[in-house]
């Protein structure tokens, strides 16, 4: 199976604006409780979470604790996936009990990643609220999960792939849709 780049749906400016808007929305809903925490889901959610924390600092002059979650050990398909993911550390060096936790990830698709992330978070403590911020919501949910903050809603078909590239990992900020173009041996 090969992939062909079909359309660029976000460039660096669009990503930046979306993240600034999401940061404002998070603050608006939070109403200065002082209990906010942002936790990014590895791999690319980490960078989005970092950017949101920076934005919030710029906007409100407040530092919000940042955490990074590796969900690998909580996946429901560990025995089925073709390739074992490389395990990385989860870094949450604050008590999440009573906190208003906003999970950050790049693409919301089936919702299973978020299910894993919530299971894991609850093993760390009892947050008062868990919310979800994603850069792209591409639909096709397999679980009753929705995002509270969305950068862009992108209706997709199942033979498409949404590829989020971030400068921290991919040297460029952009979101592209790729399409499967047929089988190659």
């Amino acid at each position: 199976m090969t992939f062909k780049e079909k359309a660029k749906i976000m460039d660096a400016d669009a990503i930046q604006r979306a993240l600034i808007r999401i940061s404002h929305e998070i603050l608006e809903k939070d109403k200065n409780t002082g209990n906010l925490a942002i936790i990014g889901i590895r791999y690319r959610g980490e960078f989005l979470a970092r950017r949101i924390v920076e934005n919030i600092k710029k906007i409100s002059k407040k530092s919000v604790p940042l955490g990074i979650l590796d969900i690998t050990l909580y996946r429901d398909d560990l025995t089925e996936i073709a390739e074992q993911p490389i395990l990385k550390e989860t870094i949450i060096d604050f008590d999440i009990t009573g906190k208003k936790v906003v999970l950050a990830d790049d693409v919301l698709f089936t919702g299973r990643t978020i299910r894993c992330a919530m299971d894991q978070l609850i093993d760390f403590g009892r947050p008062s609220v868990i919310q979800l911020a994603v850069l792209i919501d591409r639909g096709h949910r397999e679980l009753p999960i929705r995002a509270d903050y969305v950068g862009k809603n992108v209706p997709t078909s199942l033979n498409e792939i949404v590829e989020v590239k971030l400068r921290e990992a991919d040297k460029i900020d952009e979101v592209v849709i790729c399409e499967k173009t047929g089988r190659k041996k």
């Binding site: 089925e80 074992q84 395990l87 790049d106 590829e163």
Partner: protein, 341 residues
């Protein structure tokens, strides 16, 4: 070719559990082995993958809830033909922290006493739908023989004088954590090299990762041909301590001495025992390791065992993380064929 494979894997991933098709940043080193039998049979990259994963599991052990569901509904059997507290408890804890079910079988209380062979025991465990057997045996090569007889995973927890891979991996993990790297380190292994599976596994692992290894023991306890493993051999302790970044001090296994090759305890301590004085004389801040159990006043003085340079108890803690990593990797191993698919 590489690119094509990469895309293919990405696609498979997206079909089962996609985060929307985002590509992982680093290409994964796949774990393609059913068993862990010894460090002789691992590549540098595979050892690296175990150490890297162990770091993440050490983080799991520091969480408020020290348990993850990664091995839920898997069953691990500890099949021990030799006595052990540390290794067996460590494996049991590691499996339980991963949410696996654990069964302990000791030689004394099992059908082994009625004459059942290792292979028959293994096949019965397989028929009982066990997923992983952790085996310790007094015969060298026992783990490999068992691994060939069954389709389920086998982890070697020590076979005769051959290998004790999980001990060496936790030694190496501790060293790397303390000194930041393995490549270029001078590590001396001191003590009963002849009867030591820990020494053999450490030599394989350390040399593969680029350390300079010295073995030091009374002449009768240095096995013939050991220098072929790429180590420096000496019978002078001061030579082994000079320039060493770390020493791994082995237990004198008096119970294995059938031929009178061992010196007396007092004699050994005088010539080879690690003391504060000797460490000071060597100059450097040498990291002191010991796989346990320690004979205080034989291999090392109590002051050294409890001293500032000793990482002996950290080794024990790290052992759980390293064994969690191994159980996790082996439980989810994927058959890799010649083309790497």
């Amino acid at each position: 070719m590489t690119k094509l494979l990469y895309v293919k894997k990405r696609e498979e991933k997206s079909e089962t559990f996609s985060k929307g098709g985002s590509v992982p940043a680093k290409k994964a080193v796949a774990w393609g082995k059913k068993d862990l039998l010894g460090l002789e049979y691992l590549t540098k990259e595979e050892i690296g993958l175990i150490l890297e994963s162990a770091k993440s599991f050490k983080e799991v052990l520091a969480r408020p809830l020290r348990k993850v569901p990664a091995l839920r509904a898997k069953t691990v059997v500890n099949l021990f033909y030799e006595p052990s507290t540390r290794t067996r408890t460590s494996f049991e804890l590691a499996a339980k922290r991963l949410s696996a079910d654990v069964i302990n079988i000791a030689k004394e209380s099992s059908s082994i006493q009625k004459g059942e062979t290792l292979i028959d025991t293994g096949r019965n465990l397989e028929a009982l739908k066990i997923d992983i057997i952790v085996v310790r045996h007094n015969a060298s090569g026992a783990a490999m023989m068992l691994a060939r007889a069954v389709d389920i995973s086998v982890i070697n927890a020590g076979d005769g004088w051959h290998e004790h891979p999980t001990q060496a991996l936790l030694d190496i993990f501790t060293l790397k954590e303390k000194l930041g790297k393995i490549n270029g380190l001078n590590v001396s292994i001191i003590g009963d090299i002849a009867h030591s599976r820990v020494a053999r596994s450490n030599i394989w692992g350390l040399t593969k990762l680029g350390a300079n290894v010295t073995v030091c023991a009374p002449r009768k306890l240095i096995p013939a041909g050991i220098e072929k493993m790429g180590v420096r051999v000496t019978s002078k302790l001061d030579e082994a301590l000079k320039d060493a970044d770390a020493i791994n001090v082995l237990r004198m296994q008096f119970e294995r001495d059938k031929k009178g090759n061992f010196p007396s305890r007092i004699e050994y301590f005088k010539t080879f025992g690690i003391t504060e004085e000797r460490l000071k004389k060597a100059g450097k801040n040498i990291v002191v390791m010991h796989p346990g159990p320690i004979n205080r006043g034989v291999e090392m003085s109590a002051e050294v065992a409890d001293g500032a340079n000793s990482v002996i108890l950290e080794q024990v803690t790290n052992g759980i993380a390293v064994r969690m990593a191994i159980l996790y990797l082996v439980a989810h191993w994927k058959r890799v064929d010649a083309e790497g698919k």
